[in-house]
Amino acid sequence: MNPIQMKKSKYSRLASLRSSVCVSAMALTLSQVATLGMNGNVAAAAVQTINGAGATFPYPLYSKWFSEYRKVDPSLEINYQSIGSGGGVRQLLEKTIDFGASDAPMTAEQMAKTQLPILHIPTVLGAVAITYHLPGFKGDLRLSSEVLAELFLGKITKWNDPKLKALNPSLAASLPDTFVMVAHRSDGSGTSAIFTDYLSKVSPEWKSKVGAGTALKWPVGLGGKGNEGVTGLIKQTPGGLGYVELVYAETNHLPVARLKNRSGVFVAPSPHSVSAAAAAEAANMPKDFRVSITDAQGKDSYPISAFTYLLVYQRMKATQAPQFRKFLDWALTDGQKLAQPLSYAPLPAELVKKVKEEVAKIQAVQAVPAGK
């Protein structure tokens, strides 16, 4: 034939061996792909997949829930990707996922983008903890709302700022002369929404300069993707300061600051202080559960507490609705017991009843209505 084929050497045989290995590996995968392609529907009948995405705030709990619930109902796989609350809302509205998750309730404007009713299912309560990384600093950092706002506005830049010293008189000497490395979210985030909702309530300057929302124009700091990313940044950066869901700080052994609440008490974030905030604001709970409980009344209340929600269309696919309703009922009863070990606060008992009524509203339809 041609010179190329004649010039077979040891190398070439090795190479063709390699390529044949390569080819057979590909053939294997191919057959797998073919099986998946053809059996897609058959497999789906046996195991139902429900896709969700959104908030990173409750992700440690959700991943636990979805993995635990497989033991209860092995025929249901709930795939949850923590892409951020902004993503949860967006992809739900785009109908690319079956349910969304967000810590910030959807705004009226967002709800108006679809004619289909969307239900907010509160799942647990959590605290946005102010966490920091100060090697050599022992003890609890105390912060007031004004100082917190100034830190995130970039007005306080050093850890030994007089204002920080004044709040922590007994620890003043151990506050280092280093930069405050602020970390915040780079993606659309419910944690950001809760945090900035709080800052907007307590700081007029924050409200006018930055405002509240899932995606923001941050005056200072590094952006990290997800609660995971922000915690990672703080952990990697001595002098770091940021806001994350409590469990992220705890599982990473990062200290959390005590925040001065409306009653002037310095409160640490905990399931207890979050429940207190929820109890204090219980009277304000609207029928659709879309409520902000930041800067709550009460001396035990942690000021940056929030509900986190699953977002579902009221009309769900018939193949998914019954199983998903069952899952939600489980999450609201047995699932609640998993909350506390992961530093989330379970929903108050009287609220669980109301939420279950909401879950019962989920209807099974043959096909989800198209169009926005």
Binding site: Q5, K7, S19, A25, Q32, L36, K64, E77
Partner: protein, 268 residues
Amino acid sequence: MVGLLIGCAILALFPLFSVFLYVCQQGLPGLHVNFFTSLPKPVGEVGGGMANAVLGSLILITLASLIGIPVGIATGVYLSEYGKTKLSMILRFCTELLAGVPSIIIGIFAYSLFVIPMGRFSSYAGGAALAVIMIPTVARTTEELLKLVPVHIREAGLALGISRWKVTLIIVLRGSLSGIMTGVMLGLARVTGETAPLLFTALGSQYWPRSLDQPIASLPVQIYTYAISPFEEWHQQAWTGALVLVLFVFILNLTTRMILKRHAPAKD
């Protein structure tokens, strides 16, 4: 001056050693069977692997190959065998440009073309995005290598009265089969590590792939997610994932080089 040039070479190679050293050092401890057989565990639980991501990557690459390889090869053959027309000049240029389109933009493209209409993140969308990236690589390599087949072989075939398409398919293509394998493998190597276009097409999953119209995990996306997370176990897994990915790409590249070495005896 000579020292300066040697310095440049060392400076350029230093990062390679550093990256490779760290990937091995941090990744090797996590490299055991579990990594390839277990699903990821929920946050905070130890153990687990990236089995679904490894399989997911293989599936995505296969899907991409199903479209990318035939289209790439056909384009390469066209450019090499019918490459003198004005249209093919434009086409050659466009193939180069397509190779230069940032992969994140291909992600947007596949998202709005597949994910939105299908109403779901899926392997199909991810595979399609990767296929677009693969096509120019395969096409260019195929063209280059077909051009190495001497013209007289084609002429000999034509002189025997064999029709042109048979000459092309049987003599030219078969003669440079290993060359085409090279293109394929370069294409595979190119898409294996792609992360950006998968972020909003294949999304991710913590389960075994069940169906192609569902979100699917992939090695690069999993590495990315784990790398930016704060969890030590996940960092460990990210490094191991990186090691697997790098080894896979290296093997593909090495094989390619070996084939090229024997395939192009005349070159230099």
